[in-house]
Amino acid sequence: MIEGALLAQDIELLKRVSKGDEEAFRQLYDLTHRKVYFYLYRLVHGRQMAEDILVETYTEVWRNASKFKGKSRAGTWIIGIARNLAMNQLRKVKVHEDIDLIKNLSNGSQPNGRPFDRKRVIKKALLTLSTKHQEVLDLVFFHGLTYQEVSEILGIPINTVKTRVFYAKESLKQCLNQLGVKRDDL
């Protein structure tokens, strides 16, 4: 019920944007840009590139607002647009990931001698995952999207999303093992 009401709000907002309503556009931007930016930042691993793509994404949203049919939430639709633009950009620029920092953490303590911070290690380990694994975890955990919504954004079947989430977790586990994190779970 609440989900339906939110979707109706999104449709109304996008409809106003499609008619050139800048106030509605601002509202939409305020509601969604942070998550879209986070998604882009994690995908392209760079603030500048993420910001450039964010600008491009919302320009596309302005242009194509009339195409929003309300099959998913506006945020999901915008992330889909952002993803396409980011993927195009990533094809042009190869991103080099710096994993040296992660290697430094493998001794179980931080360089400054602070006690071992498990969450911090997991965060860094997340960065070593392949783009597709990191992306699927971002979408389900950070954005809180359903399998159905993730399937629409990535253009893959729901079952593939489900298995990809589990493979991503397994991959993270392996990475943590390599880093010397010894525990049964994760």
């Binding site: 008619k19 050139g20 840009h33 930016y37 600008v55 919302y58 489900k162 589990f166 049964d184 779970d185």
Partner: protein, 212 residues
């Protein structure tokens, strides 16, 4: 009631994201208590979720100038912002054309119109179109010079015969429904003089030598 391992695994993420119904949540938690292996799986995902929560708090917000940059981008395109009524009208027109062109009705409509045109061409056009010229077909097997002549409607037959006698000609055919006579004169006659005599008689509307 508890979930089997597959059902349970499918629900871990929805559970962590608060998307399960109350009933599902109860069954999920019951399964969690009864199956240590699944509980381990759950803890692993749960820990990742915790990390993401923490990351959300730490994450810097994008620069505030970005929105203005987006607006500049949009305005630099010089895309006309149509009046609301115009946009609605355009959308309706677009929908209409989409409906027309994407619908199989159009293809069948074109086929039907083509068939109708073909049928009309085959059987519909009368052989006699109703348009005629005053130039007659050249009469065969005659030796003299032929002249097409149309007389005034009020001209009496007597006047016509007198004129024809005067130029030394004879009627080869006519009058047609259009009032056309074909008059023949001997080849030895001066055609120009005869034509002038016919034109200046005051009772002709049209005089023309029949082309061969």
């Amino acid at each position: 009631m508890i979930y089997n391992p597959e059902e349970f695994k499918e629900r871990i993420i929805p559970y962590l994201n608060g998307m399960l119904s109350e009933k599902e949540r109860e069954v999920f938690e019951e399964t969690l208590h009864q199956n240590p292996q699944l509980a381990k799986e759950f803890r692993e995902f749960s820990e990742i979720k915790e990390v993401y929560k923490e990351m959300e708090g730490e994450f810097s917000i994008p620069s505030s100038h970005l929105y203005h940059q987006i607006l500049e981008h949009i305005k630099s395109e010089k895309k006309p912002i149509w009046p609301i009524v115009g946009i609605e009208y355009m959308e309706k027109t677009k929908d209409f054309f989409n409906w027309i062109f994407l619908s199989p009705r159009l293809s069948w409509g074109i086929v039907a119109v083509q068939l109708a045109v073909i049928l009309f061409l085959l059987i519909g056009i009368p052989k006699d179109s109703g348009f005629k010229t005053l130039t007659s077909k050249p009469p065969l097997l005659r030796e003299g010079i032929k002249i097409n002549v149309v007389f005034d409607q009020e001209t009496r037959e007597k006047e016509i015969r007198e004129l024809i006698n005067r130029i030394g000609g004879s009627i080869v055919s006519g009058p047609s429904p259009e009032g056309l006579y074909i008059i023949e004169i001997k080849e030895t006659k001066d055609i120009e003089k005869t034509m002038r005599a016919l034109k200046e008689s005051g009772i002709t509307q049209f005089v023309e030598k029949v082309p061969f």
